[in-house]
């Protein structure tokens, strides 16, 4: 439990420092006291001796040498009383006042003996500090040991308590957080405490429940959105089929008239023999043509289901061109197809729908005729909008027309659903939105380049290498 260890370390260090400081302070004070006591003792004795010595020195009836000798004897007698204190007599000039000092482990007091401004000498009182020192040292050791024990005990207690009070609940909370991270919202953390960790546990449980709910809601909404997109695609597909069906009906008008007319001529006996044979052959030819027209449309409308998720691009483009050729010819649109053999990561149906939508748009953009160019090739490109995109091998399919172009103001909107510049009833406006959606679904992108000389749409899809 790293947090508690840190916390404990700091606290215990502070405690130890305080204890140590206190102890050393007290020991210093004790030492001062003992020195003070010693000083007092020395003074008591020193003064007595000093007074006697001064008396002896002040006695004019004896010669100075005699007096000094007596003082020496006095001091000597003091020494005889064997105690911790030693007395010394130092004749000669003396200091002005008494003094106390520590000299080499001894406490030394000096008392000057003087009378009538004449110095006799100095009385020295010396006492060893060794005992005091030893006591102090002893005290120091005991203090260090006790501080050490306190520190160790505190540390141990903190660790144990920490692990029990903090470590375990936090581990539970961390595991809960990990579970939530893995989208597992089960298992509440039940701490049953009234402190901050208890609050945290309650908050996390609540948060986990909210997340579970929000996720469920998002998933419901996403499904609804996907369904809506699929509906839109289906609607567009139906609309495209409808457009093509209209084109097909248009196409069928001529052959039907011919077939019906010839049949009527034969049935009415109007033509006989070779002429009837000619009519029959004409019927045959036109019936074949009609079959082809209808089959092309049925091929497009029939959902072939997932035919694997890659397409032979040239094949799809050729099929679309074949299906839409009559419409293009009638509109005086010349078609050019330039393809390389390449496969794209997209299913047949979707690619067909994209290309058909774009080609129909292109043809409709050239009511007075023009040129429609379809091409497919391999390029190395990266999506223009993404900042972290990697350029890779792509299939580029381009549909270009020589129509009047798309106005600059509209360019930003063309991929929006229901945005259309056609007359009401003349188109759903879904075509490009569906193209955009399909392209994005297959992780590709689409660009448009337009000028008054024509418009060109380029779709970039992933190349299928298999």
């Amino acid at each position: 439990m790293k947090l508690v260890a840190k916390y404990t370390l700091v606290l215990v260090a502070a405690l130890a420092a305080a204890l140590a400081g206190l102890t050393f302070y007290r020991m210093a004070r004790d030492r001062d006291h003992s020195e003070a006591d010693m000083a007092i003792d020395h003074r008591v004795v020193g003064h007595v001796l000093q007074v006697n010595a001064v008396d002896l020195w002040a006695d004019d009836s004896a010669p100075p040498d005699h007096r000094l000798a007596q003082i020496a004897r006095l001091i000597q007698r003091a020494n005889d009383t064997r105690g911790p204190t030693a007395f010394e007599w130092i004749p000669g000039p003396a200091a002005a006042i008494e003094s106390h000092a520590i000299e080499q482990h001894d406490f030394v007091s000096r008392f000057p003996v003087r009378a009538d401004d004449r110095d006799a000498g100095t009385i020295l009182v010396r006492e060893s500090l060794d005992d005091t020192d030893r006591l102090v040292h002893h005290g120091e050791v005991i203090s260090v040991i006790s501080v050490g024990v306190v520190v160790a005990l505190s540390f141990a207690a903190s660790l144990v308590l920490g692990r029990w009070l903090v470590g375990k609940p936090i581990r539970e909370l961390v595991e809960k957080a990990r579970r939530v991270g893995n989208r597992d919202f089960s298992g509440t953390v039940d701490l049953r405490r009234a402190d901050e960790l208890g609050e945290l546990a309650s908050a996390m449980n609540a948060m986990s429940a909210e997340l579970a709910q929000a996720l469920a809601q998002i998933s419901v909404e996403t499904e609804a959105r996907i369904r809506a997109v699929e509906h839109m695609r289906h609607a567009d597909r139906l609309s495209t089929v409808g457009k093509l069906a209209a084109g097909v009906a248009h196409e069928l008008g001529t052959p039907l008239s011919i077939v019906g007319g010839h049949a009527q001529m034969i049935a009415g006996g109007e033509v006989t023999g070779d002429a009837a044979l000619d009519s029959a052959r004409a019927i045959d030819r036109e019936a074949t043509r009609m079959s082809r027209i209808v089959r092309d449309l049925l091929d497009f409308a029939r959902r072939r289901g997932p035919q694997g998720s890659t397409s032979d691009v040239p094949e799809v483009l050729e099929r679309c061109v074949a299906l839409l050729a009559p419409m293009a010819t009638k509109a005086s649109v010349k078609t050019e197809l330039a393809v390389t053999q390449v496969r794209a990561v997209i299913d047949d149906d979707s690619l067909q729908q994209i290309v058909t939508n774009l080609v129909v748009n292109a043809v409709q953009a050239m009511p007075r005729g023009g040129m429609l160019q379809l091409s497919a090739d391999q390029v190395v490109a990266a999506p223009p909008d993404e900042t972290d995109a990697v350029a890779g091998p792509r299939v580029r399919i381009t549909v270009a027309d020589t129509g009047p172009g798309i106005p600059e103001a509209a360019l930003g909107h063309i991929f929006e659903p229901f945005y259309t510049t056609k007359q009401p009833g003349d188109g759903t406006g879904l075509g490009l939105a569906v193209v955009y959606g399909i392209v994005v679904d297959h992780r590709g992108w689409i660009t448009v380049d337009s000028s008054p000389r024509g418009t060109s749409f380029s779709i970039y899809l992933q190349e299928a290498t298999a």
């Binding site: 008008g253 001529t254 008239s257 011919i258 010839h262 009527q264 009415g268």
Partner: protein
């Protein structure tokens, strides 16, 4: 089918017509069929396969005014490569009314009907039966001036 006088609706008749039929359609089979269906009512038949040729044919007939040049009757498709049928008639202006014209169309929409009325041409909706084709041609041939309004449906 009962008709008052000998008309195409009764079946093929001997060439009694004095006019020249111009058939404009990009489908060869259609041109052949129309020729067989109604050609006998005309002095001769000319086939063109697109709008441009139709335009030049009309132009030649208008300005090469040979005394012997027959009057024209036009049967034309709308959707053809190059100029479409209605555009040609449009470009022809007022004189379009002078040349009796039948326009074959798959989509007789409001727009197309309006243009047809403006130009004074007859609409014939595809697919049509042999009978209807002959009746429309009869109407056009019988009506003085040629135009019979919206004869199709």
């Amino acid at each position: 089918m009962m008709m008052m006088n000998a008309s195409l609706s009764d079946g093929p008749v001997a060439r009694a017509g004095v006019r020249r039929l111009v058939i404009a359609d990009d489908s060869t089979e259609m041109r052949r069929f129309v020729r067989r269906a109604v050609g006998l009512a005309f002095a001769d038949v000319v086939e063109v396969c697109d709008g441009r040729e139709l335009f030049w044919t009309l132009l030649r007939a208008r300005f090469e005014a040979e005394p012997a040049s027959p009057e024209l009757v036009v049967i034309t498709d709308v959707a053809m490569p190059g100029y479409n049928g209605l555009d040609v008639l449009d470009a022809w202006g007022d004189d379009a009314g002078r040349v009796p014209t039948i326009v074959m169309t798959a989509f007789p929409s409001e727009q197309v009907r309006a243009r047809a009325a403006l130009l004074g041409v007859t609409l014939l909706a595809k697919p049509f039966s042999l009978t209807r084709l002959r009746r429309v041609v009869d109407d056009v041939l019988e009506t003085p001036g040629g135009a019979s309004g919206a004869g199709g449906d």
